[in-house]
Symmetry: C2
Subunit: 400 residues, 2 copies
């Protein structure tokens, strides 16, 4: 399902006169985009440096952006030299370059569960066997991680320590320290999907795993997709030296380099502190929507429904009462004017049938209130009627 | 060697006071870029459609650009529906997606020889064994092609029918027709690197192979890198239906989609006929440089030096007298203030030692005149002194 389709559906008036309220898409709200400010910096960089930015460009990236990112990452305790930062086309290309650099068909990949479906898809497309490591509220379970390393000798471990998608939880610092020690002992790289450490609610999260990485086992993936614009296709990788060289060679083979024009515009946007101002503004707005969602859930949901309390990101994970399946329930939810993402897409093994992801990033407070009212009613009613299981195939993996 | 390094070197003043004249880089001249016109359309599309263009976007591409390309390709006799055109990050990503879609490690790939080195690199990075098909003035030799298909059962055949890099020659129409028939009989896809059919000199070239493709064997790769800006990273693929779907799935895994902002700006630039005007202007200028180069070669080179007469593109292939090697001669050429790309990089098997590529796209008429004077003197002198063979490792593969 394309993000656009989801968005269009979220807006579309429905047969009954009510519009569909969609908690399905995990993208930032384009209504909050700083379009005019970005237009101005884009205009400036073309005027000032157009000839160089529109010519072929060195693969590593636009040097001022790499320097900016080195400073930006220091805020989170992550030390990287500008020349160790490789610019890529969003975190998706990061997954892809890492997979093609580290994986051969048949290799095992350990992966936090639940997790981001598109990461799974990429690793599988290179022939990897995914081995899940279940997580709890504090992060991936270290005992299970160690067992997976011993039994399956995976080539890498993928996880989202900050703003985990779908739960919105962050990894506890002591869990991170223990994961790192185990990974270092087994010499297994950890692929850290940074998602976004800047978008957090309440107390500041413990920061990226890479900031604690004394043994050079972490490959960090960062992206501007959540904090600025997904459509830029702009992200970055920070990897230990021998892997970094191979990633850069893979990037050159994949598409020579990422648009220097986009890189320069984002650099100027950041340098003027426009990104900081934007992030502060949207974090406050997303934080309000998160509060409205948590409050609505608390007031309206039956007692045997539970959910995560997100520290960051755009979504939370809700668990239905036993006997109900999120995918089977979705067609009836859409009939009643509310949509979500069934959770099974986030499980390696298709489990998580009782869970669903609610994104709060692209819905207003009024929509959240009304949407949760409809969903709560549906759940109460569904207990009295058996769910239709044949609807499963109507549900595609979420884009983001 | 990075394009930037080449460019910087071309500009750098040298010890002897003379600056280096470089025929090495195969990129368009950034001095001819229509920067201001592009800045204006970019500014407009952000203003008019910024929110949609900066959000996640459907993988296939920006629909108006796909429709424009369908019409543009019709000029060359290539019929494609807009929905059959997949937007990618330049032809390099085209190679990459095709390789990952069609190749398994150990597969044979038939490839025109000489050919574009970066295409070879990509196919090799997927574990392909490259089997050369030598070409003559008319194109790849069909008898050799057929023999390679029979003996090696390759998964595909890669060639550049229009504006072949490095020779600048175009494929003769009857050769194309026979290649297509052989490929169809053996059910082997032809990967046609379109490079650019708009940049031709003298009579109009016979057009893309894909325009003659009745059996659906051709995958066409197009790019804006030569006719507009390389730094956009913007190209497209036209493939037979079953392969097209797999290419689109591969594109989604690789990086979700190409920047819709860049696509929309280029679309508006094209729609206003600014691309047509630009191509007419640069084709005339590159045509003049080509004439100056051919004339200088004719006047100055020893009789036993030969070269191709390019119909299109940015370069020609020159063959040194027997006994001389282009790579070994390069350090002395640089000492004398002239650079070129040794030809062996364009051969699958490292042959072509006596050849070198001269690009005329980024040098002025005065530089061409002086550069060829230096090169001709060098060749005359080199016959009297043996070439230093130890210089081979100083020479990297050309970027473009």
């Amino acid at each position: 399902m394309e993000a656009d389709t989801e968005r269009a559906r979220a807006m579309a008036p429905r047969a009954g006169g009510e519009s569909l309220i969609s908690f399905a898409g995990g993208m930032p709200d384009s209504g909050l985009f700083p379009i005019d400010a970005f237009r101005r910096v884009l205009n400036e960089v073309v005027r000032d440096e157009g000839a160089a930015l529109l010519q072929y460009y060195p693969v590593g990236g636009y040097p001022p952006l790499r320097r900016y990112l080195a400073t930006y990452l220091l805020r989170f305790g992550l030390e990287a030299r500008a020349e160790d930062i490789l610019i890529v086309n969003g975190s998706q290309q990061g997954f892809d370059l890492i997979a093609r650099t580290l994986l051969d068909p048949g290799d095992a990949v350990a992966i936090e569960q639940p997790t981001y479906p598109r990461a799974m898809q990429v690793f599988r497309s290179f022939g990897a066997q995914l081995v899940p490591v279940d997580r709890d509220e504090a992060g991936p379970r270290v005992d299970l991680f160690e067992r997976v390393l011993e039994r399956h000798a995976p080539k890498m471990f993928y996880c989202q320590p900050s703003a985990h998608n779908p739960s919105g939880l962050t990894m506890r610092r002591d869990v991170g320290v223990r994961l790192l020690a185990v990974a270092a002992r087994h010499q297994v790289p950890i692929v850290e999907d940074g998602f976004d450490g800047s978008l957090y609610y309440g107390q500041r999260p413990p920061g990226p795993l890479k900031a604690l990485d004394r043994d050079g086992v972490v490959i960090y993936i960062g992206t501007f997709s959540k904090i600025l614009f997904p459509g830029l296709r702009l992200g970055w990788l920070v990897a230990p030296a021998p892997i970094a060289e191979r990633l850069q060679a893979a990037k050159q083979l994949a598409d020579l380099h990422t648009s220097a024009l986009i890189q320069a515009a984002v650099h100027r946007f950041c340098e003027r502190k426009l990104l900081d101002r934007h992030v502060a503004r949207v974090a406050a707005e997303y934080g309000r929507r998160r509060m409205v969602l948590l409050s609505a859930l608390k007031r309206r949901m039956p007692e045997d429904v539970s959910w995560t309390e997100p520290h960051g990101g755009f979504s939370l994970l809700l668990t239905l009462p036993s006997g109900l399946e999120a995918a089977a329930l979705l067609p009836r939810a859409i009939e009643r004017g509310v949509a979500y993402t069934p959770g099974s897409a986030f499980w390696v093994d298709g489990a998580g049938e009782r869970t669903l992801r609610l994104s709060f990033s692209s819905v207003t407070s009024a929509q959240i209130e009304e949407g949760i009212k409809r969903l709560a009613e549906l759940i109460r009613n569904a207990r009295r009627q058996p769910a239709r299981r044949d609807a499963l195939e109507r549900v595609a993996a979420p884009l983001v």
